[in-house]
Amino acid sequence: MEATATAPAWRANLATILALMARTRNEIIRVPGAAIPGVLAPTIFFLGLNGVFGALTQLSGFETGSYESFIVPVSMLQGAGFTGAAAGVNLARDYERGWVDRLLVSPAPRWVLLTGNVLAASARAFVPATFVLAIAFALGAQWPGIDGLVICFAMVAATAAIAACWGSMLALRFKSQSAAPLMQAGMMGLILLTPAYAPLALLQPWLEKVASVNPLTEVVEAARQGFVGSVTWSGTWPGLLALAGLLLVLGALALREMRRTNV
C-alpha cells in the first residue's frame, strides 16, 4: 500500500505548529475557569505588592513616584513566567496520559513539536499581561507610549517562551507533573531576583550582585523603561540580547530532552 501524498516539508511543519497551538487554546476555551489561575496570580501579586511596598518610591533612587508604573512590567513578566511554566506542566500531564507518544510517533520533527508548545505559551501570556496592565492603568500607572508598550509585550512573549522551554525541558526530563513546583519556582526566582521591587542601587548587596549577573535584569529594565521614563535603543538591546541568549540555551536543552525521550 502506498502512503498518502504529503505536503511540502515547510508547509507541513507550519501546519503542525499552528495545529498544536490551536489545541492548547482548548484549555482556556473549553474548561470553565481554566484561564483564571493564570490571570489571578500575577494580578494578586501586582495589587498586593503595590499596596504593601508602594511607599518605597519615597526613597531617593526611584525614577518614578508611581510604584504601579514601576512594578507593572514585573507583574506582566511574572504572568508570562507562570503561563510558560504551566505549558511545561501541561506537557508533563500529556506525557503521563500517553498523548506525547502520539506526537513522537508521527514524522513531525521534534523541533516542530516543541515550537508548537512554546509559541502557544507566548500567545497565551498576552491574556494575563493585558489584564494586569488594564488594572495598573486604572490605578494610575504611566502610559509607556506605543514603543514602550510594544517592547514590554515583546519581552512578555519572549519570557513566556523561555519559561515554556524551561518547563518543557523539566517535563521531558522527569516525565511527571511532580516537577511542576520546580518549573514554577525556577521562573519565579529568575524574574524576582532582579530589580523587581526596587532599582538596582537600592537592593541589598547580595541581591544587587545576583541581579547584576541575572540576564532577566536586562529584560525587566527593558520592559520597564517606557513606564518610568523614555524608551531608548540602549535601554532595549541588552534585554533583547538576554532573551535571545536564554531562548537559545533553554531551547536547545528542551530540544535535547525531546530527542532523548526514547533513550
Binding site: 500500500m1 504529503t6 505536503a7 501546519a15 489545541r23 482548548n26 506525547v100 510517533v105 514524522p107
Partner: protein, 322 residues
Amino acid sequence: MPAIEVAGLERAFGEVLAVQGIDIAVAEGEIYGFLGPNGAGKTTTVRMLTTLLLPTGGTASVAGHDVVAEARQVRSSIGVALQEAALDPLMTGRELIRLQATLQGLPPASGRKRADGLLERVGLSDAAERRVGTYSGGMQRRLDLAAALVHEPRVLFLDEPTTGLDPVSRKTIWEEVRALNDDGTTVFLTTQYLEEADQLADNVGIIDSGRIVAEGTPEALKGEVGRPHLELLVGEGAVQEAERACAGLGKLLPPKDGKRVLLEVENGAADIPRVVIALDEAGVAVESLELVRPTLDDVFVAKTGYHLEEEEDAGAKEAEPA
C-alpha cells in the same frame, strides 16, 4: 522484503533485560499476533519497533527502514494505536483525526477528506462533533484506530487493542482489523487474549520473560502440542485422589485451578470410558467431563510450564517498564 524484520533485538532497563534478543519476520500483508502475559516484553518490543524506545542491542527494520538510523522514515510508514488510547478529552473526534492528519503531513483538504471517511468507517460520524471525553471505551478505541490509519500506513501496530473492552466492542475491532488486512495493511498486534491471536493472526509469536518461546501459525503451534486432553471437574479436595487414579492412563498436565484435573490422552474420545471407570473405582465423583482440543494456552503451557490465562488471573507478573 519483510514488512518487519527483527534480529537479536534487546532492551535493558538498568539490570533488567525486558527483551532478550528476539528474532521476528513479518511478511507484507500479514497479521502477526504477539502473544504473552503482562510484563512479557510485548509493549517494550512495540515501543522499539515504533521508534519510541531505542534498542540496547540487535537490529530492527520496519517497512524497509532501520528503526534507529531511519526513524523518521519509519514513522512516516507506520500507524500506531498504543495500549492506552492516548486521546485528548477536550478535542472532538473530528478535531483529533484532523490533527493526526496534520501531524502526518497531509495537505489540509485531503486530511479533512480522510478524517470524514475514517470516522464513517469506524462508525463515529454521529459522534464526530462530540468531545472525546464523552466517548465510551469502545468508541475511544475505534477513534484511536481511525487516527492510526489517517495516512494509510503500510504497517499498523496495535498494542492490546481490545483490553478492557466488552465482547461486542472487541468483535467490532476484530472486524475492522480483518478489513484493514484485506486492504493490504500489515498488522502487528500484541495481545494477552488467546482467542484474539487465534482468530486474527496469520502467524503468532509467543513471548515470555523477554524471549520468544514459540512461533508459527496457530494451527501449526497447536499441532506441535499434539493431543487433546480431558478436563475433569471433581469435588472439592478430590484433585489429588483423582490424579492418582488417572496416573498411567495418560499424561497429567499442570492443574488449572483447585478443582480440575487435566489429562492428556492418546486416543481422544476413545479413552474416556477407561478414565471414567478408573475414577469410579477410586470413589472420585466427577461433576463434569470435557474433551478439549489443544489451544494456544496449551502451547503456552508446553513452552513455559504455566497457563497464560492463570497468569492473567493471578496478575503475578510486574508491569513492563514504560
